[in-house]
């Protein structure tokens, strides 16, 4: 791959956790990955494969034990507004209204009040939240909360979106409509997206490239390019060919995960 156009570079990254007195857990090892500008990449794998750990390392929440992550040539050392983070739990500030949540990052950047208002209005309109400016997150459904969370990171014009199973807690229909909305936003705003999921269909529906990860230690098992044109039809034969291929890869890891769980529960 041409490194000139690579946006996120991950080199020899490992992440080792030492729980209090317990034996260490190698969450990630030997990760090398280049993500192009404007690419939509899904990290796919069973629980415990380190996909969220890798995403958190790119976000800068937890520096890797070894190796290096660079974004646009800059080594990642801390979280920053150039990498917008969307969490499965939404992480909206419950004490702020929808409007204040979306404005939060802009206020930090000391943007003028009028500019903030215009930008927030436009974003809430884009995400079909026009009538919800003054609502508190507790009054919104899961799908609407996640729309607000997406608006909140889009407000900062971050070129990169890091999404940690953002639609994992939503019902199937809401999930579909938000996936399509995300694809529209991605195409329109030319974002680079790293998207963690354990749903095979979701990864085939969304990604340019799916990175399948192994269960402990987390490594890259296989990269699968999804060459289907968009809009993708989940009923099509090609779509199914991809899901079948990925399912086989993921289920091998899921099986290892399951065996490990049985072993550790038996040992207790």
């Amino acid at each position: 791959m041409n490194t000139a156009e690579s946006c996120i570079q991950i080199r020899d990254v490992s992440q080792i956790f030492r729980g209090g007195g317990q034996k260490e857990v190698v969450a990630l090892t030997g990760i090398n990955l280049d993500i192009r500008r404007g690419e939509f990449v899904c990290l796919l794998g069973p629980s415990g494969c380190g996909k969220s750990t890798l995403l958190n390392a790119i976000a800068g929440f937890m520096p890797p034990t070894t190796g290096r992550i660079t974004v646009d040539g800059q080594t990642v050392t801390a979280p920053g507004p150039d990498r917008g983070m969307v969490f499965q739990e939404y992480a909206l500030f419950p004490w702020m209204t929808v409007e204040r949540n979306v404005a939060f990052g802009l206020e930090i950047q000391k943007m003028s009040k009028n500019q903030i208002r215009d930008k927030v209005d436009a974003l809430l309109a884009k995400l079909q939240l026009t009538d919800f400016h003054e609502r508190y997150p507790k009054d919104l459904s899961g799908g609407m909360r996640q729309r607000v969370a997406i608006a909140r990171v889009l407000a900062l014009d971050a070129p990169i979106l890091l999404m940690d199973e953002p639609f994992g807690a939503l019902d199937a229909l809401t999930r579909r409509s938000l996936q399509d909305e995300l694809l529209r936003i991605w195409a329109e705003l030319k974002k680079t997206i790293v998207f963690v999921t354990h749903s095979i269909e979701e990864s085939v529906h969304l990604a340019d490239r799916v990175i399948v990860m192994t269960y402990r230690p987390g490594t890259i098992k296989r990269e699968v390019l999804i060459t289907l044109p968009r809009e993708r039809d989940p009923g099509s034969a090609e779509f199914n060919r991809y899901t079948k291929e990925l399912a086989q890869l993921v289920m091998e890891e899921q099986y290892r995960h399951q065996q490990d769980e049985i072993r550790t529960s038996a040992a207790k």
Partner: protein
Amino acid sequence: MRWSKLYRLLQGALVPCLVLGLWQWLGASGLVNPLILPSPLAVAKKWFEYLSPLEPFDPTKSGYLAWLVSGELLRDASASLHRVVSGFLIGAGLALPLGLFMGASDNVYKLFNPLIQVLRPIPPIAFIPLAILWFGLGNPPAVFLITIGAFFPVLMNTIAGVRHVDAIYIRAAESLGANRRTLFLRVMLPASSPYILAGARIGMGTAFIVVIVAEMIAVNSGLGYRILEAREFFWSDKIIAGMFTIGLLGLAIDSGMSRLNSWLLKWHRGIEHR
């Protein structure tokens, strides 16, 4: 619908009415010396006397409204309220920043925690001798004692509140570019406010207990002073009228705090159905 409301009203009034009836009967029967236990009617009469202005209305001396609130009860209640509020504001005002720092920083916590653990179990009442020695008589020792009473509940809850802030809010704020100051003021403080406000409500309750005791010792105004004064003269009806006033004021303060909490926490999930 109407009937069930009436029914609930009657249900709530039943036990108080029975107690009042029994009490009135005891007084009327002559079994108990009215100096020991005056009848409820005598107490009610005294309460209205206590509430009404001492002198007849004289337009040359003061306005009508000023005259109307010149009764002993209202002056006592406002003196007590004034002490509670000042002591509470000082105590909570000191406890809040200390609690925020102790909750946010492990080092600050380790520095202050041992001292606090030793001081916290000492009831504010036990500080009375020292308070009088340090501040003499009058408002200062009373306010000092109330400050101590309000300080610890607010402090303990603030520490717990900050420690319970969900790490995901901090992550979200950091990734949106928040610096430490913004994180502290706009994320940690509001996120811990349900705990802090619960602490404030407990602190206010303690402050109200302490003010009555402090007034019995250190000052010569206020509801606590008044019931002790009434004892000197064997005015048991006034003692009970004063106690009743203390109860009413306490209830008013607590429901005021509770309303303030619900308003400040209207975003909070736990109270949405109140």
